[in-house]
Amino acid sequence: MTEFFWLIPFAPALSTFILVVFGRRLPKRYVSFQACSAIFISFIISVISFIGLLGTNPESIPIVKTLFSWIRAGTFGADFSLQLDPLSAIMCLVVTGVGFLIHVYSVGYMADDRSYTRYFTLLNLFAFAMLILVMASNMVLMFVGWEGVGLCSYLLIGFWFEKHSAANAGKKAFIVNRIGDAGFILGLLFMFITVGSVEFRSINEAIGGGLLNQGMATLIALLLFLGATGKSAQIPLYVWLPDAMEGPTPVSALIHAATMVTAGVYMVSRMNLLFTLSGTASQVVAIVGALTAIYAATMALTQNDIKRVLAYSTISQIGYMFIGCGVGAYAAGMFHLYTHAFFKSLLFLAAGSVMHALSGELDIRKMGGLRKYLPLTYPTFLIGAIAIAGVPFFSGFFSKDAILTMAFANGQYFVWALGLMGAVLTAFYMFRLIFLTFYGEERLDQHAKEHLHESPRVMTVPLVILAFFSIVAGYVGLPLVLGKKLDLFGRFLEPVIKPAGEGHLSLGTEWLLILVSVAVALCGIFIAYAFYLQKPQAPHTLVRRFPWLYRLLYNKYYVDEIYNAVFVNPMIRSSEIVYKNFDLKVIDGTLNGSASAANWSGKVLSYLQTGFIKDYALIFLVGIVIVIGFLLF
């Protein structure tokens, strides 16, 4: 059943090609039908391959299919070859499954947009690139997918490119990503120099065989992690993600919640042997993840744009995933990636539904009391919020708890504490969002109120499906307290990711940790309730007491301004200097100079053309003498 797994990326690829060539002449209904079908086909093949993989002997994993020999230069080789193993299978399912739902949602959301065809073309292209990324069997092909999703991210963030802010956001995303990519490329190069191959299988064998010393492993891991911070929006390269909300909401859901931003986590998990080898690198990953988790959560507290809150929330949650990877619990990190895909895309799509209902309003200060009017959007949003807060029996609880427990079990108390604090904040800001949007007094615009309507079914059905998964998806990875056998997720990943060998906790400690997580989540929810429903004036009072704190958080710690002053403006100015002095003077000068040189030499040579036959004959003679002389000697 796994023979056709390599076809997974090609349905979206073919669809993209057709849309690029013929898109203009195709009717809108067909365009969306083709785009959604392409992803759906990929999804079906992913499911079939997944089932086939379940029945495969672990010895033959990963299954690799080389489509063609791509680069061969001396000892360096990188083929276009895709591999199927538990890790890539999970990613494929997430990308195609959630991707399909988002495609369907987009049919409704983008229905009135002018560039409908371009949108679906780009979405399909993105799906193709992302699938290449997760299915690649060597680092170079993975990098192709890596860059491809970066490109699509740029194109989709700047989808409404006539808007300056959108175009700038797209540029920012791409450029910041590129900085991370430099790290990735350097890591790739060092890996090749040390190990002699970029194939994942060969790399893992080499690490197992002790070919890599710790220092080199640390260097490579840190460089690769730099790439991951760019793609997955961690400190220090997270600044592009909040701006990326300029793009259409389904784009935010797909790219900036469920798939592209998780590519960094996938990559670290893929290279888990490398990161395990280097304790330093793993520690860095965990700390960066933890710091980012809490840092982003603090910024989410004050934002008034519904999508920005979710953007910072994404940054924060990915921090959790990196905590998982950093403490050695790669399976837990991947598990959180998987559940997060469901509830975060649900939250984004539901937010989009709210915006759609209010004719594009995104400021939560202009919302309120919407739960009466949005009978499907409200419950699904609520489910997503509950899931992300980590309330038991919803999916977020299982994955977040797995990460925190592992952190504690491996002695990373600092990281665990930060994660716990982040959980409080997460619950708080999510429910702040819920209470301000759906409860309380109505602060709606007059125009918005007149056109208030629940979204069409093509938008709400995906919401319902995602809500369903936000609840049940967690049950494949039950906590270890209930026995290792029930952790289906972790066991499935075993051929790729060795289970975290860690300090064992007593049963009592584990239950205690679970209780603490739950308490913390409920605490956050209660504080939000207190602040926004019981005493609506409370937040304002707090702001008046600590105005500087509020300003710091609201202005995102002024990081954008700092980056601009330290990096961006000097670059712009130095490139202006280069332009004036080198480009204009030297290059243009050379060009113009050679033109005038040709001109001048032509003028000089024209003196030979006197018009007298005798002079011409003289030159003849000179020429003959020279040529014969030359031939003689």
Binding site: Q609, T610, I613
Partner: protein
Amino acid sequence: MIPSSYFFILSVVLFVLGIIAFFIKRDLLTQFMSVEIMLNAANLAFISLAKATGSLDGQIIVFFIITVAAAEAVIGLAIILLIFRQKKSIRTEDINLMKG
């Protein structure tokens, strides 16, 4: 018998004399005549080499050269006459329309 190299040297002398004549003279007609001298010198060279190698091809070539030289002389002289009609002079220093 006279070795053919003597004839060859003679033909080279005549050729060089023709070149010098071309550069000395100032009117078109005599310059044209010096071109004829050069042609004849070449003819002599061909014949002498034909004798030296024993093949008859040299003489055939000379046959054709003479014919073509005749045709060329006709046209050349017609052109000189035309120039004379236009400019009333056949001095080469008066003819420089190709300047520049």
